[in-house]
């Protein structure tokens, strides 16, 4: 059982290492800290948002609003900094408060109205994207000097790679996310909710507080991802980050988290994000492949990992002899 628990994570890791090895075999230049550092920097916003998605999926829910929240945060920052003249640091705090509150409200609706997370966050997705449009439909460039300062911060890796601030922020989020998931009561409660909501409630897990907390956390991280995305692009655009929720879900699944909730690891999600980034990097290196192959390969990987999860579940049920009670 313990081995089954780690099997998806191990598979993800093996897939990543193998894929990277194949890439290097074909393009030796990919064996460089520059590529690794860019992999982290380019996918920073996705990684941060995907950590939030991991918590949501661990609890057995889903959050479709994160792409829109990232887009909204970007536009909000651009408008507040450039048009209202507020210092970026203050704007960051404001954006995070809004995003967290937004997630919390969705969590409250999901819990108190007992509606599927899917449709509630769908409404959230429409709402956040709509608000972004209302703020501005143009791409608003951000030219505050504070942005330049933050963008110029980097950590020099041996071999010439530059791990920029936003890449570091993502690694930090993954680290903190892992600690929260594995070592705090909140994390244990999240796993409990995903395992079995009713049992969790009967055991005294504060379901309301945890559910609201989970979606607030996802909102907070989507807001943070929005800030990172805005630092990455130096602009706010209301159509930015469309469909990131799908990439994030794909990353979580490829990272080995059980879709029905209750099992999985934040670290796996990071690898899931890196695998997606690796495919894109490979396509860039190749030069002749079109970027739509990314989507097809990710679709195939999604299918492979879901099938693997079913196989593990089937095996563990088989071993427990539970198959008798469950018609095949």
């Amino acid at each position: 059982m313990i081995r089954a628990k780690y099997l998806p994570l191990m598979t993800t890791l093996v897939v990543f290492v193998l894929a990277y090895a194949i890439c290097i075999a074909q393009f030796p230049a990919m064996w460089s800290t520059r590529v690794v550092a860019n992999l982290l920097t380019d996918n920073a916003f996705l990684g941060i948002a995907a950590v939030g998605m991991t918590f949501v999926i661990l609890s057995g829910g889903i959050d479709l609003s994160i792409g829109s929240v990232i887009g909204f945060t970007g536009v909000f920052l651009a408008v507040v900094i450039e048009r209202a003249g507020i210092h970026p640091a203050v704007a960051f705090v404001l954006a995070l408060v809004i995003a967290t509150g937004f997630g919390g409200v969705m969590g409250a609706i999901i819990h108190y109205l007992k509606m599927p997370a899917f449709i509630v966050t769908l409404a959230g997705m429409f709402f956040a994207r709509g608000m972004a449009f209302v703020l501005s439909t143009d791409s608003v460039p951000i030219s505050h000097p504070f942005y330049g300062e933050l963008q110029s911060l980097y950590f020099k890796l041996p071999g010439g790679g530059r791990l920029r601030l936003i890449g570091l922020v993502m690694l930090l989020v993954v680290l903190i996310g892992t600690i929260v998931a594995q070592r705090t009561r909140f994390g244990t409660n999240v796993y409990a909710l995903g395992g079995n909501l009713q049992s969790a409630e009967l055991m005294g897990v504060p379901v309301a507080r945890t559910t609201i907390g989970i979606y607030a956390l996802s909102g907070f991280l989507a807001g943070l991802a929005g800030i990172v995305f805005s630092l990455y692009t130096s602009a706010g655009y209301s159509l930015a980050a469309v469909g990131v929720e799908l990439d994030a879900i794909a990353a979580v699944v490829i990272g080995g988290t059980l879709l029905t909730g209750g099992a999985g690891f934040v670290a796996g999600t990071l690898i899931g994000v890196l695998i997606q980034g690796l495919i894109q990097t490979y396509i860039v290196f190749d030069g002749s492949l079109s970027s739509w192959w990314t989507k097809i390969v990710i679709g195939l990987l999604l299918f492979a990992f879901i099938a693997l999860q079913r196989a593990i579940l089937w095996l563990s049920e088989h071993r427990a002899g539970a198959l008798r009670t469950r018609p095949a």
């Binding site: 109205l113 509606m115 449709i119 769908l122 709509g130 209302v134 439909t137 799908l246 099938a307 079913r310």
Partner: protein, 342 residues
């Protein structure tokens, strides 16, 4: 007669909503209800609403059945892109129209069967099972069109987008025909009841002898087929297949239409007529916002607001509150489900 009346009463909230939306638009723009007969077909804003709403209406038909089984089909937008691309590439390589249409529908059916197989045989949650095709589908469509917008000039295929039959635009005829066909099929037989049974409790219905796997497969296949028709209509409308934008986010509109139509997201209760009216409500709102000169961005916020209202009304929590507030109606409410006519 009494069946028709009962049906009308069930659809009353949707019909009233549609009437209110249309009345509001008509109040602001007196010319809205004007219909002209020119060159042997009807013209006017109302016809336009019916016409523009065709893809969502078509998707909503399949989506209704899927949601009735407590499932969801996220891939319909991507399937539209795939089938549009297939239709365009076949017709540009000089295939006869009949072969093109048959193959296009077959591809849609295959996409639906793939989703259905994942849900029915691998027991994967519908959201995730259909997510695979949603993510990969546009890539596949790009592969078929080879990254360009494939345009075509075949009069036969274009007819499905802008032709007219008996004065009505072809897309309208298609969704009406499809809607009636599917509605009759599921409501005049026991199929609808069995589908609802799966939605209420898949395990229990399987144990009581319902062929759940076969039905689930059929339901997702129907959804794929509807998406194929919608994809053909969308491609014929712009005379080209745009793998990036065809059917983009239409799955969400289709789900919204189904929910607006009174089908429960928790499964076990559906109305195809309701979903079609829901699709028209969405299109009427879209058209109204465009006419009124508001930026179309307001669409999204209005849609979000609509979802929230429906959620509050549909949620188990507020339903129990209604029952609590009106105890005298408690014994009148339980039997609301339509039974198949014998």
């Amino acid at each position: 007669m009494s069946v028709a009346l009962k049906g009308l009463r069930r659809l009353a909230p949707q019909l009233v909503t549609l009437a209110v939306v249309l009345a509001l638009i008509g109040f602001a723009f007196p010319g809205f209800f004007q219909l002209n007969w020119q060159n042997g077909r009807l013209y006017g804003s109302l016809v336009d609403v019916l016409n523009r709403g065709a893809p969502v209406a078509l998707l909503a038909i399949g989506m209704t059945l899927v949601i009735a089984t407590k499932g969801i089909d996220l891939s319909v937008g991507a399937v539209m892109a795939i089938t549009g691309a297939v239709a365009a590439s076949l017709i540009t390589s000089d295939m006869p129209l009949a072969v093109t249409l048959a193959l296009t529908l077959l591809v849609g059916l295959a996409c639906g069967l793939w989703n259905g197989a994942l849900v029915a045989f691998l027991d994967i949650q519908p959201i995730i099972a259909t997510l695979i095709l949603m993510v990969a589908g546009r890539g596949i469509a790009q592969l078929i069109t080879e990254g360009v917008i494939l345009t075509f000039n075949d009069a036969g295929l274009i007819f499905f987008g802008s032709g007219s039959v008996l004065g009505l635009p072809m897309p309208v005829v298609l969704w009406l025909l499809f809607g009636v066909l599917v509605a009759l099929l599921v409501r005049r037989t026991a199929l609808g009841l069995l589908i609802e049974a799966i939605g209420v409790n898949r395990r229990a219905s399987m144990l009581s002898g319902v062929r759940t796997r076969f039905l689930l497969l059929t339901v997702y296949a129907t959804s794929g087929l509807c998406a194929a028709v919608a994809g053909t209509v969308a491609a014929a409308d712009i005379r080209g297949a745009d793998a990036n934008n065809a059917g983009l986010w239409l799955e969400l509109d289709a789900i919204l239409a189904v929910v607006l139509g009174g089908t429960s997201l928790l499964g076990g209760r559906f109305s195809i007529a309701g979903s079609l009216i829901g699709a028209m409500i969405i299109q009427a709102i879209n058209t109204g916002i465009l006419l009124s000169g508001f930026p179309p961005e307001f669409n999204l916020i209005i849609k979000a607001a609509i979802i929230v209202v429906i959620l509050v009304v549909q949620s188990p929590a507020s339903q129990s509150l209604f029952v609590y507030l009106r105890p005298e109606r408690r014994d009148a409410t339980p039997v609301t489900r339509e039974r198949p006519a014998r």
